[in-house]
Symmetry: C2
Subunit: 344 residues, 2 copies
DNA sequence: TTGTAGGCGTTATCAC
DNA sequence: GTGATAACGCCTACAA
């Protein structure tokens, strides 16, 4: 036994060491480290002091084995926009600060390779819970297997509601409608849309919002003005090139995320089309990219960080109290910047 | 006991279930799942079949407790550029594919808040090893405590060599010298530099390369042409505004990363300075941002993903074979794009 | 308010 | 090649 309390190189102190040093039982030490009640303040202090002296850190594996939880939550993301992912990460980690939970990032190539394997992955990684972001949060197979197994998970920005488990979202339809109506209000009539990856249902919601706005204004929706993208910068370039090559080209383009809008801006620059004089451009998400390009993008500010924070909070509640599923809708904001103007 | 092999909702199969079903001992099952030798092929198949039938996944916590490792590695990053971080993540995860190790992302505010806490964090998170990216990889306190504890770690892009542990880097000095010489070769004489955050030593290396190139060309280094940034887009704007407000403004700016170069481009746009006609701009890293702005940035292609992959490979080797430290230098590439031209 | 006993699911040690 | 059995460090009961 180590009477001095000095622990040799590589040898970690255990709860027994702390107990011995503090002159209490291991259960008392355990109580202190789990913030359980019924410990005299004086005892608590003794334990904490002893722990510090020998640099004790609870063994996560032992804790997980005995307590049947790993304090590990996973985030699966297949979003191609690094800024979006960075925001998600930031929100989750922010909420996790001070909590015993840690965040595991799960590799992810495409939604299809992942479908049907999420539960196995979660199990083999020993996760306590899962945060699903688009498009996986809308994958029926994934939802079904997680639900069937009773595995705790929350969804960020799901397109369809299940109400089975917490969902944090924003109103994509209304936001897309707003930004389209803003373009219409500027005087635009030929307004194109670059939709997102069809496998991301949020893209569909945004398309619906666009259609609503157009219809309400009595404007035709020319199929030539609906292009498909993949939420990537490059796909935005491609889509915009097709749109702008047409003889009856649009005077405004609404891209379903900032990356594609930046791509459209790039395409316009290539063709010498000045934005916003000859072409108005709107994005969606308000990621940093919207402020990096010139001119800055008019866009919808999606509270990604807040959404991630809220989703994490909901998951923690789920893990602790086994609370029911619910739906949280976060507010968005139309941000008007230099990329939009009346048609020239 | 569950004779049918069907496992109820939420109840996970254990190694005992597999052993019973396969008619072997748990040790044999363990051997199979750890790819140990001395198991007859026939036995192995039986075990694997039994495991699949009851959807067995080894319990990570138990494995960690008994085997004294968590199969968890951590990456600590304090780099403000999301694209850089995304590339690091991608490289690590790519190398980890197929390995039993998982990646933990560690929250990180600033290098100073982290210093002296990395080991404690690694311990309390139960990590097996650590990947340190700038600027933490150069923090003496961190290096010292990890080394003293014999904790396995590798460093990505460290400024100073320790040789104690694997280091994956590129030659920042030579790269910065190359890109500066390229600008000089175009005919520029007044070349400014926007250095990075002083707490990131890579910025110093790049400054040295710039100085070398200038001296070799017999050019004075006007202190007015050396600005300080923080590796962020906004800091690039600020620094460029200061540089461009001067009456004797530079004809070219070399920013120590792409984010700041993009900021400089933004500032030039603000002032109506056409790039590259009136101002040449060079970045560093070749993150996606370099290709998103217009015109695209001339930059140094830093093989971030490859570096992360190599660092991960080195860490895995360290964890398995206890190999020695070593130094890997990856090649860089000067990428010439539209943001640079002869002075107008 | 505190302590004791038992078990969590695996790996390691040694025997067969 | 294979198998019993003892750790591993903690948490959950239950007692005191």
């Amino acid at each position: 036994m180590d009477v001095t309390g000095k622990i040799g190189r590589g040898v970690r102190a255990t709860i027994l060491d702390v107990a011995a040093r503090a002159g209490v039982s291991i259960k008392t030490v355990s109580r202190v480290f789990n913030a359980e009640p019924n410990v005299r303040e004086e005892t608590r202090d003794k334990v904490i002091a002893a722990a510090q002296e020998i640099d004790y850190h609870p063994n996560v594996a032992a804790r997980g084995l005995a307590g049947k939880r790993s304090f590990l939550i996973g985030m699966v993301h297949g979003n191609p926009s690094p800024y979006y992912v960075a925001d998600l990460n930031a929100g989750v980690l922010d909420r996790l600060r001070g909590e015993p939970y840690r965040l595991l990032v799960l590799p992810f190539e495409s939604a299809s390779t992942m479908s049907g394997k999420v539960l196995a992955m979660a199990r083999s990684s020993g996760l306590d819970g899962l945060i699903l972001s688009p498009p996986l949060g809308d994958d029926p197979t994934t939802i079904a297997e997680l639900t069937a197994a009773g595995f705790p998970f929350v969804r960020i920005a799901p397109a369809s509601a299940t109400w089975l488990t917490p969902e944090v979202r924003m109103d994509d339809v209304a936001a897309a409608q707003d930004i389209t109506e803003y373009l219409i209000g500027l005087g635009h009539r030929r307004i194109a849309i670059i939709r997102g990856d069809p496998s991301h249902p949020s893209g569909t919601a945004r398309l619906i919002g666009y259609r609503k706005a157009m219809r309400r204004a009595g404007l035709d929706i020319d199929p030539m003005l609906v292009e498909e993208g993949l939420y990537t910068f490059d796909s935005g370039i491609m889509a915009a090139r097709r749109l702008l090559a047409s003889r009856t080209r649009p005077s405004a383009i609404f891209a379903c995320n900032d990356d594609m809008a930046a791509g459209a801006l790039f395409a316009a620059n290539e063709m010498g089309l000045k934005v916003p004089d000859k072409l108005s451009l709107a994005g969606f998400d308000d990621t940093p990219i919207a402020s990096i390009v010139w001119p800055r993008l008019t866009t919808i500010s999606q509270p990604t960080v807040d959404m991630a924070r809220a989703a994490t909070a909901a998951l923690l509640a789920l893990l602790d109290d086994k609370k029911e599923g619910g739906r949280i809708t976060m507010p968005y904001r139309l941000v008007v910047r230099g990329s939009t103007a009346p048609p020239g």
